[in-house]
C-alpha cells in the first residue's frame, strides 16, 4: 500500500491507538482506500449526489483521528503550564498568529507587560498591530541589508578583477565630502547662533501627549533641526521650556546621544516670554484667527512642539492667549485648494516653509512643503479669483435649492 509509505512519519506514532480500536482502524483504512481510488475516477462523485456526502464525511472523520492522536505530546505540555497570565497571553498571541491576525511573531517580556497594562481590548489590539508592523519593517530592512551586502561583495570581486593593473589617477581633493560638509554647516550654525533670526520651539506640551506622540514629536524635532542645519541661512533655534530630566529632555538626549551637547542651538528651561520681548513674538498656531501675510525678519516665531492625535483642540491658542501673545496661522486657504487632512502641519514641514519664506518670500514656493495629499492644487491668488470662487459656490447652492424646490412642488 503506497499510503503507509507516504505517511510513514505520523503513522509510526499512531500505531498504538490504531491497534486498540481495531474495528475502527479497518473502517478508516477502507475509507482511505476509497478516497485514494476516488482520485482516479474523479467525475463519479458528481453524478451520484446522494452517495458522495457520506463519503466526504468519513474523510473528515479520518482527519479527526489524525488530530486526536497527535494530542499525546500536546497534553503533556499543557499540564505543566502554570496559571501565569503572561505566559497565557503569550500563547494567546501565538494562536492569533495561527489565525493570521496582525500580531508579532516574537514578543519580549517588556512588551508583554506593556500589553497587559493597556486599558482596553482595542488598545491591546492597536499595540499588537504596532508591534507587528515594526517587526515586518525590521525584517524587510534586514533582507534588504543582506541583499545589498551580497551585491557589494560581488561588485568588489568584479572591481578586483578589473583594476588589477592598478593605474593611478590624479585628483585634486581627497574623498572627504561628508566631513567637509559637516564642518561647513557647523560654521554656518555658529554664525546663526550669533546673528541668526531666532526660531522658538515651545516644549511646554509634554502633559498633553501620550508616550507615542511624544516620540513622534522628538523625531519631528530632529528632522526640523536637520533641515535647518542644511539651509543657506539657518535660524537660530531655541528649545524653550525644556525642563531638565523631563521626558522630552531624556528622549532628545537619547536620540542625539553625545551630539546633544555640541548642537548649535539654545536649549533653555525658560519660557520664550522671558527670553524675548513680548511684542516681537508671534505664536504660530493653526487655530489663530489672524492669517500670516508676510514673513517678518524682525519677529520671533514660536512653533508649539506638539503632536496631538487626541480630540483636544486649541491648546496652543489657549497658551498664546494666556501669555497675551500675537498669533498667526499660515495662509493655507488663500493659496491652496484644501482637500482633506488637518490644517496643522508637522514641525519639519513648518520649519521648511519658514526657511523658504525667509529666503525667498514666495508663498507658492514655500507651500510646496505642504503634503500633496492634503490639497488639490494652488489657487490663483488674485482677489478676483477668490471672489469668483465664492460666487460659484453661491450659485451652485442656489441652483441646488431651486432644484429641491421643484422636486417638492412636483411632489405635491
Amino acid at each position: 500500500m503506497n499510503v503507509t509509505v507516504r505517511f510513514s512519519r505520523p503513522f509510526a506514532r499512531l500505531m498504538l491507538p490504531f491497534t486498540i480500536h481495531r474495528k475502527r482502524r479497518n473502517l478508516y483504512s477502507t475509507v482511505l482506500q476509497r478516497y485514494m481510488s476516488s482520485k482516479a475516477s474523479s467525475l463519479s462523485c458528481h453524478n451520484k449526489d446522494s452517495t458522495s456526502p457520506p463519503e466526504q464525511l468519513d474523510l473528515d472523520r479520518w482527519k479527526t483521528t489524525m488530530k486526536s492522536s497527535i494530542q499525546e505530546d500536546g497534553v503533556s505540555m499543557a499540564s505543566d503550564k502554570g496559571e501565569d497570565p503572561l505566559a497565557a497571553t503569550r500563547e494567546l498571541i501565538e494562536m492569533w498568529r495561527l489565525l493570521r491576525r496582525q500580531v508579532p511573531e516574537h514578543i519580549t517580556e517588556e512588551e508583554l507587560k506593556t500589553l497587559m497594562e493597556c486599558a482596553s481590548k482595542s488598545a491591546q489590539k492597536k499595540y499588537l498591530k504596532f508591534l507587528y508592523g515594526k517587526e515586518i519593517k525590521k525584517k524587510a530592512e534586514q533582507r534588504k541589508k543582506e541583499m545589498k551586502a551580497e551585491a557589494r561583495e560581488e561588485a568588489k570581486k568584479a572591481r578586483l578583477l578589473e583594476t588589477k593593473g592598478g593605474e593611478k589617477q590624479d585628483f585634486m581633493f581627497l574623498r572627504l565630502w561628508d566631513r567637509q560638509m559637516n564642518i561647513a554647516m557647523d560654521w554656518k550654525g555658529v554664525q546663526a547662533m550669533q546673528f541668526g533670526q531666532p526660531l522658538v520651539f515651545d516644549m511646554d506640551y509634554e502633559n498633553f501627549m501620550k508616550p507615542a506622540e511624544l516620540q513622534n514629536t522628538v523625531s519631528q524635532l530632529l528632522e526640523s533641526e536637520g533641515w535647518n542645519r542644511r539651509n543657506v541661512e539657518p535660524f537660530h533655534i531655541y528649545f524653550c521650556n525644556l525642563k531638565l530630566d523631563s521626558a522630552y529632555h531624556r528622549h532628545l538626549v537619547k536620540r542625539y546621544s553625545e551630539k546633544w551637547d555640541k548642537l548649535l542651538l539654545t536649549a533653555t528651561e525658560k519660557s520664550p516670554v522671558d527670553v524675548f520681548p513680548k511684542d516681537s513674538i508671534i505664536y504660530l498656531t493653526a487655530d489663530s484667527p489672524n492669517v500670516m501675510t508676510t514673513f517678518k525678519h524682525d519677529k520671533i516665531y514660536i512653533i508649539g512642539s506638539l503632536v496631538d492625535r487626541t480630540a483636544q483642540t486649541g491648546i496652543s491658542l489657549a497658551k498664546a492667549k494666556r501669555l497675551n501673545l500675537a498669533t498667526e496661522r499660515l495662509p493655507l486657504d488663500k493659496y491652496l485648494q484644501w482637500d482633506i487632512g488637518n490644517k496643522s502641519l508637522t514641525l519639519d514641514q513648518m520649519i521648511r516653509i519658514l526657511l523658504c519664506m525667509k529666503n525667498t518670500g514666495n508663498w507658492e514656493e514655500a507651500l510646496k512643503f505642504v503634503p500633496r495629499r492634503k490639497h488639490t492644487g494652488y489657487l490663483e491668488v488674485t482677489q478676483h479669483s477668490q471672489e469668483h470662487f465664492m460666487k460659484l459656490k453661491k450659485t451652485k447652492k442656489r441652483l441646488f435649492l431651486e432644484g429641491s424646490l421643484n422636486v417638492r412642488t412636483r411632489k405635491r
Binding site: 505517511f7 512519519r9 505520523p10 478516497y35 476516488s38 482520485k39 474523479s42 462523485c45 458528481h46 449526489d49 458522495s52 456526502p53 466526504q56 464525511l57 474523510l59 473528515d60 479520518w62 482527519k63 479527526t64 489524525m66 488530530k67 486526536s68 497527535i70 494530542q71 500536546g74 497534553v75 505540555m77 499543557a78 503550564k81 496559571e83 497570565p85 497565557a88 497571553t89 500563547e91 494567546l92 494562536m95 492569533w96 495561527l98 489565525l99 493570521r100 481590548k121 491591546q124 484667527p289 486649541g314 491648546i315 491658542l317 489657549a318 497658551k319 492667549k321 494666556r322 447652492k397 441646488f400 432644484g403 429641491s404 422636486v407 417638492r408 412636483r410 411632489k411 405635491r412
Partner: protein
C-alpha cells in the same frame, strides 16, 4: 411620498411606518406649518394674559389646553419634538441630502465561483489553478464560504482535500472558519467533533475560537463546557458581552437559572452593558416561572434599564409585555401606545414623570457645566478669565431670563436674508410676549457690515439684554450657563444639538442629566418661512425613561424600522397597568 429619494434604497423601509401615519408633516413644510401653528401659536398669544409669577405652569397648561383629545393629537405628538427618534435623520434629508446619491455597493469581483456541491480532490486542484489572488487559496475559499454561508458538506470536502495534501493536518485558521460554518448551520454534533479535535491538538485556544465554540456548545448537552471555555477567556482577558450572552442563553436553555443570574451579575460587575438580547432572554424564560424571587430580579433589570437610559427594542418590549401578562393573579394589561404632548399616556391617561430635574440634580449639573464645559481645566481654551468675570458680573446684574438666544445660530439660519434682520425679527417677536430675553453673540456682530446693520443691532440691544463675547471665544458655554443660572423656567433657542459640550462632561451620569435638561429646555425654531409666525419645535414635558408607579409601568421602546441616533429618544411606549385598579384620570 417617498419617490423623491430614488437613490436611497433603504428609505421606504425606514420611514413608511411613521410617515404613512402622519401624512409627512415635515416633508411638506407648508402643510406642517399650518398644522403646527394651530396648536402652537397660542403658545405665545395665551402667554400675555397670565399673571407673571408662574409662567412655566401656565405655559404647559396652555399647551395642554390646545391639545385635542383622541387620535389626532396622538398622531402629531409622536414625531415632532426635536429629539424624537429619527428626527435628525429626517432633518438632514430635508436640508442636504436631496440629491439622489448612488452609493452602489461595489461587490468584490469573484475570480472563482464557489462550489455548491462537495468536490473531490481533483476538482479542488483544478479550482486552485484558476486562483490568481495573493494569499493562500484555502484561506480565501473558506472565508468566502463563511461569508456566503455555504453548506457544511462543501467545507468538509475542502478540509478533507487539505488534510490529504498535508499529512492529515488542517490549519488552525481553517478549523476555526469551519467551526463558524458549523455553528451557523447549527450542526451541534459537528461542533463537538471539532471541539474535541481542537482540545486535543492545541493546549489553549484564543478568544475567537472560544467565542464560536461557546456559541456552538450551548445548544448541546455539553453546554457546561462552554462555561469552562468562558473561564479560559477570563484567564487572559475580560470576556465580551456576547460571550456572556451566549452562556446565559445556554444556562436558561437548560433550566439552570442560578447560573444564568450569577453570570449576569458577573457581566454587570465588569461594567459591561449587557446586550438587550440577554435581558430579553430572561424575560422570555420568565414566562414559565412563577417565582417571586425571579420576578423581583426581572424588575431589577427594568430598573437597570432606567438607570442607564437604555431602551428595549420592539421584540424585547413584546417579551416584557408577555411576561407581565403571564404573571398569575396580578392581571397586568399591556398596551403599545404613544404619549400625548401634555405628558399623559394615551392609553391609561396617567401623567409621566416630569422632564425637570430635581433641585439637587439641577445644582449638580450647574456646577458640572461650570467646571467641565466652561472652565475645563484651562479657562483660556474657551474664553479668558477676564471675560468670564465680565460675564458673571453681567449675569448677576440682570434679572433672571426667560429665554436665552444663541444670536449667531439663530441669525445664520436663513442664508438668503441679512443676519441682523432675522435676529431682530426673532427678538422682537419674543419681546412682544413680555419675556426677559438674553441674546448671546460675538463682538464682530457689532461692527457694521453687509450682514450686520447697525440700526437693527441697536434695536436688538433695546429689546433684549445682550452679551457679546470675544470673537475667538465660544459662546455656547455661556448660553448653557446663563440658562441654568436663570432657573428652571428659562429656555434657550438654538439649533445646535450641543453634542460637543455634552462630551466635555466627565461622567456618564452628568451627561444623562444634561441630556434630560436639554430636552426640557431647548427650543428649536421650526419653519423656513420667516415672514410667517415664529414657531418652535415643541419641548418635551415628560422624561422618556423606563418608569413605574408601582401598579403601572411605562416603558419607551425602539421600533425596529426606525433608526435612532444616540441623542434622540424613542416615541413609542409600552403601557402596563394592573386591571384590578381603576384607571386613573381620563
Amino acid at each position: 411620498m417617498t419617490f423623491y429619494l430614488p437613490g436611497f434604497r433603504s428609505f421606504p423601509k425606514l420611514w413608511t411606518s411613521t410617515l404613512s401615519l402622519e401624512l409627512g408633516p415635515a416633508t411638506s413644510p407648508v402643510f406642517s406649518f399650518l398644522r403646527v401653528t394651530r396648536n402652537q401659536h397660542r403658545w405665545f398669544s395665551v402667554k400675555t394674559t397670565p399673571p407673571p409669577n408662574s409662567k412655566e405652569i401656565n405655559l404647559q397648561l396652555a399647551k395642554a389646553r390646545t391639545l385635542k383629545k383622541g387620535h389626532d393629537s396622538n398622531r402629531q405628538g409622536s414625531f415632532d419634538h426635536y429629539f424624537a427618534a429619527g428626527a435628525a435623520k429626517k432633518r438632514s434629508h430635508l436640508t442636504s441630502n436631496l440629491q439622489p446619491r448612488e452609493h452602489a455597493p461595489s461587490r468584490v469581483r469573484r475570480t472563482i465561483k464557489l462550489p455548491t456541491k462537495p468536490l473531490n480532490s481533483e476538482e479542488w486542484d483544478k479550482l486552485k489553478e484558476d486562483f490568481n489572488r495573493k494569499g493562500s487559496f484555502e484561506d480565501w475559499v473558506i472565508s468566502q464560504m463563511v461569508c456566503s454561508s455555504s453548506s457544511v458538506d462543501v467545507a468538509k470536502s475542502l478540509l478533507a482535500w487539505v488534510a490529504a495534501k498535508n499529512n492529515g493536518i488542517v490549519g488552525y485558521n481553517l478549523l476555526v472558519k469551519y467551526l463558524c460554518l458549523c455553528v451557523f448551520h447549527k450542526q451541534t454534533s459537528e461542533v463537538i467533533d471539532v471541539y474535541e479535535i481542537m482540545k486535543a491538538k492545541y493546549k489553549c485556544l484564543e478568544t475567537a475560537a472560544n467565542t464560536i465554540l461557546i456559541r456552538g456548545l450551548i445548544h448541546s448537552d455539553r453546554w457546561r463546557e462552554a462555561l469552562l471555555l468562558l473561564e479560559d477567556i477570563k484567564k487572559v482577558t475580560v470576556p465580551s458581552k456576547r460571550n456572556y450572552n451566549d452562556c446565559i442563553q445556554g444556562a436558561l436553555l437548560h433550566q439552570d437559572v442560578d447560573m444564568a443570574w450569577s453570570l449576569y451579575q458577573e457581566l454587570v460587575g465588569h461594567n459591561l452593558i449587557p446586550l438587550l438580547e440577554t435581558l430579553k432572554a430572561f424575560f422570555d424564560f420568565g414566562k414559565d416561572i412563577n417565582d417571586d424571587d425571579y420576578s423581583d430580579k426581572l424588575l431589577d433589570i427594568l430598573l437597570y434599564l432606567r438607570n442607564n437610559q437604555l431602551y428595549p427594542g420592539e421584540s424585547f418590549a413584546h417579551s416584557i409585555k408577555t411576561w407581565f401578562e403571564s404573571i398569575p393573579g396580578r392581571q397586568w394589561k399591556g398596551q403599545f401606545t404613544t404619549v400625548q404632548r401634555s405628558g399623559h399616556c394615551s392609553s391609561c391617561g396617567r401623567a409621566l414623570e416630569s422632564i425637570h430635574l430635581s433641585p439637587e440634580e439641577y445644582e449638580f449639573l450647574k456646577g458640572k457645566i461650570m467646571r467641565d464645559v466652561i472652565d475645563g481645566g484651562d479657562q483660556y481654551k474657551k474664553t479668558t478669565p477676564r471675560e468670564l468675570k465680565r460675564f458673571e458680573n453681567f449675569i448677576n446684574s440682570c434679572p433672571p431670563f426667560d429665554i436665552v438666544i444663541d444670536g449667531l445660530n439663530v441669525a445664520k439660519m436663513f442664508s438668503k436674508s441679512r443676519d441682523s434682520q432675522i435676529l431682530l425679527y426673532i427678538v422682537s417677536q419674543l419681546a412682544q410676549q413680555n419675556l426677559q430675553l438674553l441674546v448671546l453673540g460675538r463682538k464682530h456682530m457689532l461692527i457694521p457690515s453687509s450682514r450686520w446693520r447697525k440700526d437693527e443691532m441697536e434695536w436688538v440691544r433695546k429689546l433684549a439684554h445682550c452679551f457679546f463675547a470675544d470673537d475667538i471665544s465660544e459662546d455656547d458655554p455661556f448660553l448653557l450657563y446663563a440658562t441654568l443660572n436663570s432657573g428652571n423656567h428659562c429656555k434657550f433657542i438654538t439649533k445646535d444639538l450641543m453634542r460637543d459640550h455634552k462630551a466635555c462632561l466627565s461622567d456618564v451620569h452628568a451627561q444623562h442629566l444634561f441630556f434630560k435638561w436639554q430636552q426640557g429646555h431647548q427650543l428649536a425654531i421650526r419653519i423656513n418661512f420667516q415672514k410667517s409666525k415664529l414657531t418652535f419645535q415643541h419641548t418635551l414635558s415628560y422624561d422618556t425613561v423606563v418608569q413605574t408607579t408601582g401598579d403601572s409601568w411605562h416603558i419607551p421602546y425602539d421600533e425596529d424600522l426606525v433608526q435612532r441616533s444616540s441623542y434622540e429618544v424613542p416615541t413609542k411606549w409600552l403601557c402596563l397597568q394592573r386591571k384590578t385598579q381603576a384607571p386613573a384620570g381620563s
